[in-house]
């Protein structure tokens, strides 16, 4: 089976093209719904696999995303490459193209967004490009799928794509260095195109240097590079070798563009200009953003998501339970099986499934913001605030994704260039209320603050953000002294997201939740139900004498000062560490609630408004869930930081809940 890699700059429409070219769709990596390392899909015509690499500007990696792409090209050997470029930004895009051509694998150039370019008065002549670069150039409109049929038919036989003969002359000095490095490289096997490796070495690509270091002693090669650089400086050609290589490429690109592009009729982005004059307005920008966020939460919880959840809850608690009851009665199931299925499974998993509509709507809106181009503006608007807190505006996107699920959000932090900013974002991510915590807020808000549900829920989100900002300031001041943060963000033109792409990415994000409902939550529910069903006295004991009660009672005294020192509350916390979704399903089981209304009644009698706020705050802050801990370990590659993130959040949760409850009591609330 052949593999074809899809490479290109960010925002050039790679994902659209990927979606149209592939039918099945799988993510590499352990979690769904992220710009994970690389996506793999099967080509529609069955000719092989298509690998979607993260968007990169050059093969010289700055962020971890780019490192993944560079590493892929070095360590794996795709049969062919599709390089997708934005026709309206050709000059910049071609820099990567040249590096890919030097890589030497058969390459197709997908000239995307020809419609956008045309609308802006930029005409690109694909024939001249083909002639200059020596590779097939296919004009595309990936968003609508126009031209993708042609790409597929070229890919039908990847071996038929003509080999690349492209070679750029870097001048006598550099060419000498390249030639002598290549002779050294001949000694080791398993390298891709040697000239390419030599060039990347001269450009000081860290991934290449790392790889070569493992295979051979590279001091000789570095000496060659150094000598060449010194001679370049002596001849006053350039300050450094990488700069020289870049300028040779840029000269060539300018020459190609001058021939292939007719931009005499170029017009500015009218729509983008007009929208930006409002959306990134110095005074209006931020209030508008807050308004959008409020509307987003309102839609999720009040306008659309809430009613849908109620419908689903009515079905699960009513009809589904009734059917199951009568079915189990008809087949004569034992009392144990009956209780297991109705109380354990339907009660536990069903209690979480009712939140599916709200979670999907939230994900849909996040995807919309991402695809429309607004998200980049949000980073811009937030940068000055974030900078004051010691981070940069780019960290804002991961934080917003964190509202969906912390796991993909931590992985999204990979697009941040600086290691310090990335680590801080990762450490603070658990303070973003993920969708798993949402059911808890929704439940308590419905019981204690029925008139202001959206506000109550929103304030929990805000609380997380506020603590994230405070801790950010604190950590960046005390843990990462002397490190500045940088900020640069591209602002893509605004565009209407496509329904197909939207639904696909919403599904990809939400799938993880459903999968968890089917695995961790299912297993957790059954386990917890068993613990509540069995006790030291045997099976089917009174819940107050169950293992669960014993266990919850053990931690309850610790929670007493926080206002919820009952065994019931205590016993939700440990399964809540596995997955926060389990908190509500645990409650469903503990309180034997047939449906949401029943559970709400029970909660109302056990908690007070004040202790409910304290409990919600505790659930928000207390510890990242197991999956998040796993991804923190993976991304930071450090147990120290992993334990640090668990430790600080536990301490924070206890302190905050204590202050809320005791403070509230002093003020005379209950």
């Amino acid at each position: 089976m052949s593999s074809i890699a899809l490479v290109g700059n960010p925002n050039t429409g790679k994902t659209s093209l990927f979606n149209t070219l592939t039918s099945s769709y799988e993510y590499v990596g352990n979690w769904a719904g992220v710009t994970v390392e690389k996506k793999i899909g099967s080509l529609k015509n069955g000719a092989g696999k298509l690998i979607d690499l993260p968007g990169i500007y050059s093969l010289h990696p700055l962020s971890r995303d780019e490192g993944v792409a560079a590493q892929y090209l070095i360590e794996e050997s795709p049969e062919a490459l599709i390089n997708i470029v934005d026709a309206s930004q050709l000059e910049r895009n071609l820099l990567l193209t040249l590096q890919l051509l030097e890589y030497g694998k058969p390459t197709i150039l997908g000239l995307n967004m020809t419609d956008v370019a045309k609308a802006r008065g930029i005409q690109v002549n694909p024939d001249i490009l083909t002639e200059q670069l020596g590779i097939p150039v296919l004009p595309l409109i990936a968003r609508t799928g126009k031209g993708t049929g042609q790409v597929l038919s070229v890919l039908e036989q990847p071996s038929h794509i003509p080999p690349v003969t492209f070679q750029l002359n870097y001048g006598e000095l550099a060419e000498e260095a390249i030639a002598s490095i290549v002779t050294h490289l001949h000694k080791i096997s398993g390298l891709p195109n040697l000239r390419w490796v030599a060039l990347q070495l001269l450009e000081q690509n860290p991934v290449i240097l790392e790889l070569l270091k493992k295979r051979m002693d590279i001091s000789g090669l570095l000496l060659i590079a150094d000598t060449a650089q010194t001679r370049l400086q002596q001849e006053k050609l350039a300050l450094t070798l990488p700069q020289w290589i870049r300028s040779v490429r840029m000269d060539y690109i300018r020459k190609v563009c001058a021939e292939a592009i007719d931009s005499t009729l170029q017009k500015p982005h009218n729509l983008t200009e007009r929208l930006d004059s409002i959306l990134t307005h110095r005074f209006l920008g931020l209030p508008l953003f807050v308004l959008f966020m409020y509307a987003m939460f309102k839609t999720t919880f009040d306008w659309i998501g809430g009613p849908l959840s109620d419908l689903l809850d009515g079905f699960i608690g009513g009809q589904l339970s009734d059917w199951t009851n009568s079915l189990l009665g008809a087949i004569g199931a034992s009392e144990f099986t009956h209780a297991l299925i109705v109380d354990g499974l339907i009660g536990g998993v069903g209690g979480v499934l009712v939140f599916v509509p709200q979670i999907f709507i939230l994900f849909l809106m996040i995807s919309f913001l991402e695809d429309s181009g607004y998200m980049a503006r949000v980073c811009l608007l937030m940068d000055s605030t974030m900078e004051r807190m010691g981070l940069n505006g780019k960290a804002f996107i991961p934080f917003i994704i964190g509202f969906g699920c912390n796991v993909p959000a931590i992985m999204a932090a990979r697009s941040i260039e600086q290691p310090k900013d990335r680590l801080l974002t990762t450490l603070l991510m658990p303070l973003m209320s993920c969708s798993a915590r949402l059911p808890v807020y929704l439940l308590f808000a419905a019981v204690f603050f029925p008139a202001q549900q959206a506000t109550a829920v929103l304030s929990m989100y805000v609380m997380g953000v506020v603590f994230a900002l405070i801790l950010c300031k604190f950590f960046s001041k005390h843990l990462f002294k002397n490190e500045t943060s940088i900020f640069i963000i591209e602002l893509p033109p605004y565009r209407m997201p496509q329904l197909k792409t939207l639904s696909r990415s919403t599904w990809e994000k939400g799938k993880g939740f459903l999968r968890k409902a089917g695995t961790i939550i299912l297993a957790g529910s059954v386990l917890i139900w068993l613990m509540s069903y069995a006790g030291p006295g045997g099976l089917n004991v009174d819940m107050d004498h169950s293992f669960l009660a014993k266990f919850g009672g053990f931690i309850a005294p610790l929670l007493q000062p926080l206002g919820f020192g009952t065994w019931q509350a205590g016993s939700t916390l440990v399964p809540g560490f596995l997955a926060k979704e389990v908190v509500v399903s645990t409650m469903n089981i503990i309180y034997h609630a047939p449906d949401a209304a029943g559970l709400e009644g029970q909660i109302a009698s056990v908690f007070t408004p004040l202790s409910s706020i304290s409990f919600m705050a505790f659930i928000l802050l207390y510890i990242p869930c197991l999956a998040t801990v796993g991804v923190i370990k993976k991304e930071t590659a450090s147990w120290k930081w992993t334990f640090f993130s668990m430790g600080y959040s536990l301490i924070l949760a206890y302190t905050v809940s204590l202050v809320i409850y005791q403070g509230g009591r002093l003020l005379g609330w209950s």
């Binding site: 050059s58 910049r92 840029m250 005074f283 811009l380 608007l381 000055s384 605030t385 900020f487 591209e490």
Partner: protein, 80 residues
């Protein structure tokens, strides 16, 4: 027409200058700017300034992007 050099920050929103020098900038940011085609000799336009001393929006080669004011002050432009 007289040519004057000044920091990019001094441009009026909407006006254009050609980049004269970029100095003292964080190397990572410098590389990223180069990736976007921002280098000496290129025309750059100041589109707007963000709220609360936030980043400024720039346009270069038809690409919109934003950087912080502190860094923008290290880009020297020539205006005619």
């Amino acid at each position: 027409m007289a040519l004057t050099s000044c920091s990019l920050l001094r441009l009026q929103p909407g006006s254009t200058g050609s980049i004269q020098r970029i100095e003292g900038m964080n190397p990572i940011l410098r590389r990223r700017l180069a990736d976007l085609g921002v280098s000496e000799g290129v025309m750059i336009r100041l589109k707007g300034k963000g709220p609360f001393m936030g980043p400024i929006t720039l346009e270069c080669n038809g690409q919109l992007f934003a950087i912080r004011r502190k860094e923008a002050s290290m880009i020297e432009v020539k205006v005619s």
